[in-house]
C-alpha cells in the first residue's frame, strides 16, 4: 500500500473566541467527512479577511485568493477540472463589496461549485469598518445594505440559494451538505450565506433569533418555487428581517457533459490531425477549386 507523503499541518484558527466562523468551519469539516470526500479531491479557495483563513484549517488543497477574486478563481478551477470538489469561501467584504461584480456572474454562469459567504456585517481584520451588508439603523448607518440570497433569487439562472446561521449549527451542517451535493452533482453554483457574527466588532448574536425567518421550519414552504422564495425574501427585507434556510434549489436536471481540460493528453495523435486540418485553412497559393453551390447540411 502506498504511503501518503507528510504534507502541511493544518494551523490553529486565528479567530476570536465566540467567532461565528468556528461554526462554519465545523459544519464544513463535518460535511466533507459525512460525504466521504478524500482530502486531495477538495480545493478550498478563500478570500481576504478573517474568513479567508479557513483553507488553512482543513488539510485539503487550499488557496488564498486576492481580495474579491475567489469566484473567478474557483470558476477557473471548476471548469478546468470538474472532478474536483471546489469550495469558495470568504466574507461579506470580499463577496459583497470588492468582489460583488463576480457574484452576479457566478449566479448567471451557474458553474458547479460551492460558495460559502460568511456574513458578519463588518470588516473584522481591518478592525471594524462597515460592510455593504450592514443593515441601516437610520442613525450612524444610512446607506442601504445588500442581501446576497435575495440578489441570487432574482437571477433566472440561479439554481441554489441558502442562508444559515452559525448559531443554528445543525441546520448549518445540513445546508452545507446540501450545497456540496448540489455542486458536486454538477447541477450548478451553490450559494450558502452564513450569518456569522463578529464578537469583537459587530456582536449581533442577540438579534438574529428575531431577525431571521427560518423557512425550514415552515412545512408549507417549497424550496423548488423560485417565485415564492423571491417574494418571501423581498417582503422580509422590507420588514427589516432576513430569510434563512434552504431558500431555493432548482429541480435537479441531468448536468451537461463537461470536458475535463486538466486530463486532456497534450500531444494526442487525433488532436495533431485536427490541428493540421485547422492550419490548412490558412494555406497560401492553394489551387483554386471550381465553385460549387454549398452542399446541403448533413443530417
Amino acid at each position: 500500500m502506498k504511503t501518503e507523503p507528510r504534507t502541511y499541518e493544518p494551523t490553529v484558527p486565528i479567530w476570536c473566541a465566540g467567532c461565528g466562523h468556528f461554526g462554519v468551519l465545523s459544519a464544513l469539516q463535518k460535511a466533507l467527512r459525512d460525504l466521504g470526500i478524500p482530502q486531495h479531491e477538495v480545493l478550498v479557495l478563500a478570500g481576504i479577511g478573517c474568513s479567508g483563513t479557513i483553507q488553512n484549517y482543513l488539510g485539503t488543497y487550499g488557496y488564498h485568493a486576492l481580495h474579491g477574486r475567489v469566484l473567478p478563481a474557483a470558476t477557473g478551477v471548476a471548469l478546468a477540472n470538474p472532478e474536483l470538489t471546489v469550495i469558495g469561501a470568504g466574507g461579506d467584504g470580499d463577496g459583497y463589496a470588492i468582489g460583488m461584480g463576480h457574484l452576479v456572474h457566478a449566479f448567471r454562469r451557474n458553474t458547479p461549485f460551492t460558495y460559502v459567504l460568511m456574513n458578519n456585517e463588518t470588516y473584522g481584520l481591518t478592525k471594524g469598518q462597515r460592510s455593504p451588508s450592514r443593515r441601516a439603523d437610520g442613525r450612524s448607518v444610512r446607506e442601504g445594505s445588500v442581501d446576497g440570497p435575495l440578489l441570487g433569487l432574482s437571477i433566472p439562472a440561479t439554481t441554489f440559494v441558502a442562508r444559515g446561521y452559525s448559531g443554528w449549527y445543525e441546520q448549518l451542517a445540513q445546508l452545507t451538505v446540501a450545497a456540496l451535493e448540489h455542486a458536486r452533482g454538477g447541477h450548478g453554483f451553490a450559494f450558502l450565506e452564513v450569518i456569522s457574527p463578529c464578537v469583537t466588532y459587530q456582536d449581533t448574536y442577540p438579534e438574529w433569533e428575531q431577525v431571521l425567518h427560518d423557512v425550514d421550519r415552515d412545512p408549507g414552504y417549497d424550496p423548488a418555487d423560485r417565485g415564492a422564495a423571491l417574494a418571501l425574501a423581498a417582503s422580509l427585507v422590507a420588514e427589516g428581517r432576513l430569510a434563512a434556510g434552504l431558500l431555493f434549489r432548482a429541480e435537479a436536471v441531468a448536468p451537461p457533459e463537461a470536458p475535463v481540460p486538466a486530463r486532456v493528453p497534450i500531444a494526442d495523435a487525433g488532436l495533431v490531425a485536427r490541428y493540421e486540418a485547422l492550419l490548412d485553412r490558412y494555406a497560401v497559393g492553394a489551387r483554386p477549386e471550381p465553385s460549387r453551390p454549398r452542399a446541403a447540411p448533413v443530417e
Binding site: R69, L71, G76, P259, L278, P288
Partner: protein, 585 residues
C-alpha cells in the same frame, strides 16, 4: 502596352465600411500569393460597429518584408475621402481606380504622373446587377487587368474566395467581374496587357495569418487548454479564435465579466495543471496587474498576452503603440520574477506563444507576451507552423506515483534552482496551501525575517534558472557594422528593410530584434558593447525600452531613441533617411 514585371507591389483599397475594401485587397492577395509573392496585409478601420472609413493595404513582394513599403502603386478609391487619404503615399507613376459614380476625381490631389481610371462602379453595379454590393468584384476585374492577370485566373480566384457562398450569389459576382473586364476593354486595358506583370516564384508550404491567431496556435500546440478573456481591441481575435477552437481540443474558453475575472479564472485553471492563458490590451492589462504580482508571489504559471494599442487610457484603440512596456516590465506591487517576450511576426508569435505556455508552467510565474496592434492584427505570409517543433516539459510537476515515494511534500520547498516541485489540485498526496502572502515552505503564512529573505531569493533564482531557455534576439543587416537599428515587435520588418536601403546607400547597419524584453539578456548588452550607436526604434513618446535597457546598465550615451506615437507605423524610407541624416551630422 508591354507589361512591366514587378517584384514589389503596394496596393491601397479604401472606401466606406461595407464597400468591400478588405475583401478586394484579400482577393488581390490571393492572386499574388498563388504566384509566390510574400504578402503583408493591414487594415485601417474606425473603432465603431459599422461604416466609417475603411482602408485595406496589401504589399506583395518576392522578398519577405513583414511591413508596408513607402509607397503604393495602385489606389482603388471608392470615394473622395479615399483619394484624400491615399494620395500622399501614391507612387508618382501609380494608378488610381476611382469610383466616379459621385463625380469626377480631385486630380489636383494626385501626383502629376499618376494614371486615373474613373469607373462608375456604384452606378454600373446598381444599373446592371441591381446591387451596390458587387462593386468590389467589378473593381477586381479592372485591377486584374492592370496586373495582366488572365481573365480565367481572376475568375478562378474570385470563385475560390466565394466558395462558401450559394451558387447564384457567386454567379452574380462573376457577372460583376465581367463588367469590370468590359470596362477595361473599353479603356485600352486588354487581357494580359496591363502596365504591370506578376512574377512567378516557387515557394514551400506557406500560410497567411495574423499574430493573434498564431499566438493562439502556439498556445494550443504547447498544450494550452484554458483561456479566459474579455473583449477589447486589438486582442479580441484571440478570445474569439480560442472560444471556437479550444472545445475541439478538449479545452475551455470563457468570456469573463471583466479582466479581473479573466486572469483569475486562468490562475484557477493553472492550479489544476491545465495550461492557461489570458489576453487583453493596455487598459485591460492594467486591471490585471494585481494578479500578475499574485502569480509571481503564489507561484502559479499563466501566460498574459498584451496586444498593445495607443494609450494612455483608452487612447486610440485601433492604432499600434508599444507604450505598455513599462507596465509589463515594472508594473504591479512588490518584487517578483517575470518574463516579457516580444514576437516580431506571426511565425515568431507562434514560437513564443508555445514557449511562453511551456515556460509559465515550468517557472511557475507570469510570462507576458508583448504584441502590438500591427503584429496582432496584420496578416503576413510565414512558413506553415509546425506543432512538431514545440517542446513540452511539465517541469517540476508532481504526479501521484512520485508523491508516493517522497515521504514529505512542501509546496514551496527552497531549492537551489528556486523551482519547487508542485502537485496540481486533485493529485493524491499533494495537499498544499497556495497563497500570495509570504509563507514558509509548507505554504503557511509567515513574516519571519529569515524565511522572508530565503523566499524572495528563491523566487528570484527561478529567473536565473530559465535564462538559457529565453529566446535570443534575431539579427539581420551587417554583423560588423558599428551602428545598429534595434526594434522589437512591429519594428521588426521595417528595421530590416531600412537596413537594406542604408546598405545600398553605403551606410551598412546591424539590425537587432530582441525577443526577450525582460529580463535584459546578454545578447543586447553585447550589442551595446560592439556598436558605437544603437538606434532604439520604438512606438511610444517616452523611450520606454531605452529606459529599460539603460536601467539594466547599458551605456546610455550609446542608445539613441527613434520614437513615434502618431498611431502610424514607421516606413523604411523614413527610417533610413533619419539614420543617414543623423550619421552625416
Amino acid at each position: 502596352m508591354t507589361p512591366h514585371p514587378r517584384d514589389d507591389i503596394g496596393v491601397m483599397v479604401a472606401g466606406q465600411g461595407g464597400d468591400g475594401s478588405l475583401t478586394l485587397a484579400s482577393l488581390l492577395g490571393d492572386v499574388m500569393g498563388a504566384r509566390g509573392y510574400e504578402l503583408y496585409q493591414a487594415r485601417n478601420v474606425a473603432s465603431r460597429v459599422k461604416g466609417g472609413h475603411a482602408a485595406a493595404y496589401l504589399r506583395a513582394s518576392l522578398a519577405r518584408r513583414g511591413g508596408l513599403g513607402d509607397r503604393f502603386d495602385l489606389l482603388i478609391a471608392f470615394d473622395a475621402e479615399a483619394i484624400e487619404q491615399g494620395s500622399p503615399r501614391l507612387d508618382d507613376h501609380g494608378y488610381v481606380v476611382y469610383d466616379a459614380s459621385e463625380g469626377p476625381v480631385a486630380r489636383d490631389r494626385l501626383p502629376a504622373g499618376a494614371t486615373v481610371l474613373e469607373v462608375p462602379f456604384g452606378r454600373l453595379a446598381v444599373r446592371d446587377l441591381r446591387r451596390d454590393l458587387y462593386k468590389n468584384s467589378l473593381a477586381f476585374g479592372v485591377a486584374a487587368r492592370l496586373f495582366s492577370v488572365s481573365d480565367a485566373d481572376a475568375e478562378a480566384a474570385l470563385r475560390h474566395s466565394l466558395r462558401r457562398l450559394a451558387g447564384p450569389l457567386v454567379d452574380a459576382n462573376v457577372r460583376a467581374l465581367e463588367r469590370g473586364f468590359g470596362y477595361a476593354d473599353g479603356h485600352g486595358l486588354a487581357t494580359g496587357a496591363g502596365p504591370w506583370a506578376l512574377a512567378s516564384a516557387e515557394r514551400g508550404d506557406r500560410i497567411l495569418i495574423s499574430g493573434n491567431e498564431a499566438v493562439a496556435f502556439g498556445f494550443l500546440a504547447a498544450g494550452g487548454r484554458f483561456f479566459a478573456g474579455y473583449p477589447i481591441t486589438p486582442a479580441s481575435e484571440i478570445l474569439e479564435w480560442l472560444s471556437a477552437r479550444l472545445p475541439e481540443f478538449g479545452g475551455v474558453a470563457v468570456q469573463a465579466e471583466d479582466e479581473l475575472a479573466a486572469i483569475n479564472m486562468a490562475l484557477g485553471a493553472a492550479m489544476t495543471g491545465t495550461r492557461a492563458m489570458t489576453a487583453s490590451s493596455g487598459p485591460g492589462i492594467a486591471l490585471m496587474q494585481e494578479t500578475v504580482s499574485h502569480l509571481g508571489s503564489a507561484e502559479v504559471g499563466v501566460v498574459v498576452v498584451d496586444c498593445q494599442r495607443s494609450g494612455p487610457s483608452t487612447g486610440m484603440p485601433t492604432k499600434p503603440e508599444q507604450s505598455d512596456l513599462g507596465m509589463l516590465v515594472w508594473g504591479s506591487s512588490g518584487d517578483f520574477p517575470r518574463v516579457v517576450l516580444a514576437p516580431g511576426d506571426p511565425a515568431d508569435a507562434f514560437e513564443l506563444g508555445a514557449l511562453a505556455t511551456d515556460l509559465a508552467e515550468r517557472f511557475q510565474g507570469p510570462v507576458l507576451i508583448a504584441l502590438d496592434q500591427m503584429v496582432s492584427q496584420d496578416l503576413a505570409t510565414v512558413e506553415r507552423l509546425d506543432p512538431g517543433s514545440v517542446e513540452i516539459d511539465r517541469g517540476a510537476l508532481l504526479r501521484e506515483a512520485e508523491l508516493a515515494t517522497l515521504g514529505e511534500y512542501r509546496r514551496y520547498r527552497v531549492e537551489d534552482d528556486g523551482i519547487s516541485r508542485w502537485a496540481p489540485a486533485g493529485t493524491w498526496g499533494g495537499q498544499s496551501l497556495v497563497t500570495g502572502n509570504e509563507r514558509d515552505e509548507w505554504g503557511r503564512v509567515s513574516t519571519q525575517p529569515a524565511n522572508r529573505i530565503r523566499m524572495v531569493d528563491k523566487r528570484a533564482r527561478k529567473l536565473e534558472t530559465i535564462l538559457p531557455d529565453l529566446p535570443r534576439a534575431r539579427e539581420a543587416g551587417d554583423p560588423e557594422a558599428d551602428v545598429a537599428l534595434l526594434g522589437f515587435g512591429m519594428q521588426t520588418g521595417v528595421t530590416r528593410e531600412a537596413a537594406e536601403r542604408l546598405a545600398a546607400a553605403g551606410r551598412p547597419v546591424r539590425v537587432f530584434q530582441p525577443r526577450t524584453l525582460w529580463p535584459v539578456l546578454e545578447d543586447v548588452r553585447e550589442l551595446a558593447r560592439a556598436c558605437r550607436r544603437v538606434y532604439v526604434v520604438e512606438h511610444n513618446a517616452s523611450a520606454q525600452y531605452a529606459h529599460v535597457l539603460a536601467g539594466a546598465g547599458l551605456p546610455n550615451e550609446r542608445l539613441e531613441s527613434v520614437l513615434r506615437y502618431d498611431g502610424q507605423p514607421f516606413r523604411p524610407g523614413e527610417l533610413a533617411a533619419h539614420v543617414l541624416e543623423r550619421e552625416a551630422a
